[in-house]
């Protein structure tokens, strides 16, 4: 449809997409060739991270096997390559795109906390990264953002490489450790199985011996002998098992892997300064102390007035409030120049003669 202007084309594309989405069969019909899964049960949908338009595998083969070509979706003028097509991981295409963008950003911005002198700077850096990501995702000054990314890449080439290498190394270590853990678990399981089997065997043996002993002439003595033997065997076995378990444990904490257990541990920091929720507020009263009872001629009636007290009126509270107010601010002198200087700034903010608006 070459005669259509881009805006109408985009509108049509949107309308079609909406129609497909509304029908709930977005997974069933290829938006490009309109062939449905009903006819082709093996149909797979692919997307290209260039524009994230969905199409079926056969369309991809048909259109892009000759080399790079324009996206067949109306209104999309991106040139796509077959090689870049892949299966969609997330149902929501926005999420798919975000994951891609984040992957890309993470490759460039791979600094770690230990690269920064303080937590605050690290947090600032993280925020910066997040801003860049957000800009890319929502196409807010894309050019400026891209320029920023390139500049960062240029200036931090070596550290990016270093950090990438470090990350790869860590991954390797983690992999090795996981393997080791697996092996360890396997061994432990084996040991357990062995123990169980031997126990069973011993029990059966013991039972057989017992029966044999009962058949003998002097059953009591024979039984005692068999029991003693069984006890000796089982204690020997237990000892053996314990030794092996100890060996296994020792192998696990072998020095070769010691550093790995430290790998994920957060470095111990000095404890942060104690947080003061009231910001240095002092609760003691400087000028007075509360008493239980004050002499006040006009309150004396109230003290014994049941109609007032029944309602929950606490004379003590009035005392406290009144005495507090008697001294609250007695030490503040408003004419002090520093206070005055502070207060001199917000002058005139109220000055709004509203003549024109009222008349």
């Amino acid at each position: 449809m070459p005669s259509l202007t881009t805006s109408t084309a985009a509108a049509i594309a949107r309308a079609r997409e909406n129609a497909i989405n509304r029908g709930g069969d977005a997974d069933e019909i290829c938006p490009v060739c309109k062939s449905s899964r009903y006819l082709n049960p093996n149909m797979r949908f692919l997307v290209n991270p260039e524009c994230y338009h969905k199409m079926c595998e056969s369309c991809v083969d048909r259109i892009f096997s000759q080399g790079p070509s324009q996206c067949p979706v109306v209104g999309c003028d991106k040139i796509l390559r077959k090689q870049k097509f892949r299966k969609q991981t997330f149902e929501d295409i926005q999420v798919e795109r975000e994951v891609d963008v984040r992957k890309r950003i993470a490759k460039t911005f791979n600094k770690r906390q230990e690269d920064f002198p303080s937590l605050k700077e690290f947090n600032d850096y993280l925020e910066e990264v997040e801003t860049v990501t957000f800009n890319l995702l929502n196409s807010v000054d894309t050019n400026a953002t891209e320029a920023k990314i390139t500049a960062f890449e240029q200036s931090n080439k070596s550290s990016i490489l270093q950090n990438a290498a470090k990350a790869a190394q860590e991954q390797q270590f983690a992999l090795a450790q996981r393997e080791f853990e697996k092996e360890h678990h396997r061994k432990a399981r084996e040991l357990e199985n062995e123990i169980e089997a031997s126990e069973k065997r011993e029990k059966a043996e013991h039972k057989a011996n017992l029966l044999k002993a009962l058949e003998a002439d002097n059953p009591d003595a024979e039984v005692a002998k068999v029991n003693k033997l069984a006890r000796k065997k089982s204690s020997m076995r237990r000892e053996n098992q314990e030794r092996r378990a100890r060996e296994l444990e020792a192998a696990r904490n072998a020095p070769a892997f010691q550093f790995m257990s430290n790998l994920n541990r957060v470095a111990e920091e000095a404890p942060p300064e104690k947080y003061d929720p009231v910001d240095g507020f002092d609760e003691t009263n400087r000028y007075f102390m509360y008493r239980d009872r004050y002499e006040s001629p006009w309150l004396d009636d109230t003290r014994n007035n049941k109609t007032v007290l029944a309602g929950g009126y606490l004379l003590q509270q009035y005392y406290e409030r009144a005495v507090f107010e008697a001294f609250s601010g007695v030490g503040c002198f408003i004419e002090d120049p520093d206070i005055e200087a502070e207060e001199a700034t917000p002058l005139g903010s109220f000055d709004t003669p509203m003549i024109d608006s009222t008349v």
Partner: protein, 406 residues
């Protein structure tokens, strides 16, 4: 803690000024008001000249103006009105503050409502010139707002019943403006309750049989019957707190306890001085019961150690600084008494000036009134009863069943 808490209040943060700051603020507000008057007159002049050029223009004068206006021959010959000076503005505001107190007394509101209303008015006009907002239009609004603030709520209907010719609309019309004008800082720290607490404490201390040396000297200074003397002084002090303290600027310059002490100073200078010496002087125990002190003396080392560990370190002696402040505060309050004695004709002259400023249409024959409240149709009538002799006003207000029904 007490001072620290006070510094977090809006009264301390936004409504406390040194004297120069306050006067600067007032003159800035006055200048703004004068500017608005000048603008209004300029506009009126332009309108007047255009209307004289075309005599056939239909309505050059606002139709609601039912007093026949002598149309001058040439508006340009009439000089610009003389605006009010900052001190004149203050005089007017203070006069209306006294009116506000009288109005509050009609309702027999508690003194806290009265005090709050007065401070509202004062604060509002600190930032809004009377040129733009004539206080007479705001009185009822402010009083009503104060009743709500101080938990003494009356419905508007009830409120309007007590004052003749008052409608709920008139009360509520400027409420938003007033509330915004005082910066939404409704809570005002009055010295009233604090004064009550201070006197209570003093009486209790005098009544106790402690042997605090400071208290002993205080007792000696107070003569035969210390409690009686304190009670008498407290009564007089309350009078100062509910009048002079409000009309003067002490709320801007001093903290509530200082105002309370200032009022006490006015009521009984000797007592106030002795009291401050006892509470905040060199050897003050800061009101701690003497029992503790005795214990401290007995087990000297241990007790003192415990004491000092458990309590905040003693603040430096406050009295040398406090006494001059309190004295100045008292003097300022005493000066405020002059506002009551201002003769009526002075007030009338000020109001006439203001009237001329606000109503260019009456003198130029064109233009529109300036400021709020001047656009009401029955405006000339209001103007007439605006500054009546106080006795006449009282008569109408004291009418038992309110004004006549309309």
């Amino acid at each position: 803690m007490e001072d620290q808490l006070y510094t977090t209040t809006t009264q301390c943060k936004t409504w406390s000024f040194g004297p120069t700051t306050l006067s600067n603020l007032r003159s800035a507000t006055n200048a703004a008001g004068v500017r608005s008057i000048k603008r209004g007159w300029k506009r009126a002049r332009v309108e007047a000249s255009s209307s004289t050029n075309t005599p056939l223009a239909t309505t050059p004068i606002p139709s609601n103006n039912n007093t026949p206006t002598p149309i001058p021959a040439d508006p340009s010959t009439i000089p610009d009105p003389e605006p009010l000076s900052p001190s004149e503005e203050l005089t007017l505001v203070n006069y209306y503050m006294l009116r506000l107190m009288a109005m509050s007394d009609i309702f027999s509101f508690p003194s806290s409502v009265k005090a709050t209303a007065c401070i509202f008015l004062s604060r509002f006009h600190l930032h809004h010139s009377v040129h733009s907002y004539h206080p007479k239009h705001l009185l009822t609004t402010i009083l009503f707002l104060a009743t709500k603030t101080e938990n003494n709520y009356l419905s508007t209907a009830e409120f309007c019943k007590r004052i003749p010719k008052l409608t709920p609309e008139a009360v509520l019309k400027y409420e938003f403006k007033v509330a915004g004008g005082i910066g939404w800082d409704f809570e005002i720290r009055h010295p009233l309750r604090g004064a009550d607490g201070g006197i209570m404490e003093l009486l209790t201390a005098l009544g106790s049989n402690s042997t605090d040396s400071g208290l002993q000297t205080l007792r000696e200074k107070l003569g035969q019957n210390p409690s009686r003397r304190v009670t008498d002084a407290a009564g007089r002090m309350k009078g100062y707190l509910t009048k002079e303290a409000l009309v003067s600027d002490v709320y801007y310059h001093y903290t509530p306890p200082q105002i309370f002490l200032g009022a006490l100073w006015l009521a009984d200078k000797e007592l106030a001085e002795a009291y401050i010496e006892w509470r905040f002087g060199e050897n003050s125990t800061m009101g701690r019961p003497i029992k503790k002190k005795k214990k401290e003396r007995k087990g000297k080392d241990k007790a003192t150690e415990e004491e000092s560990a458990a309590e905040a370190p003693k603040p430096p002696t406050l009295a040398p600084k406090l006494i001059p402040a309190v004295a100045a505060c008292a003097e300022m309050m005493l000066k405020a008494q002059e506002y009551e004695k201002i003769p009526v004709d002075v007030l009338k002259r000020i109001d006439k000036k203001l009237h001329r400023c606000q109503n260019p249409q009456k003198f130029l024959g064109a233009g529109s009134p300036i400021g709020i409240g001047n656009d009401a149709p029955q405006q000339p009538k209001k103007q007439a009863e605006e500054v009546p002799p106080p006795e006449k006003k009282r008569k109408t207000e004291d009418d038992m069943f309110g004004g006549s029904l309309r």
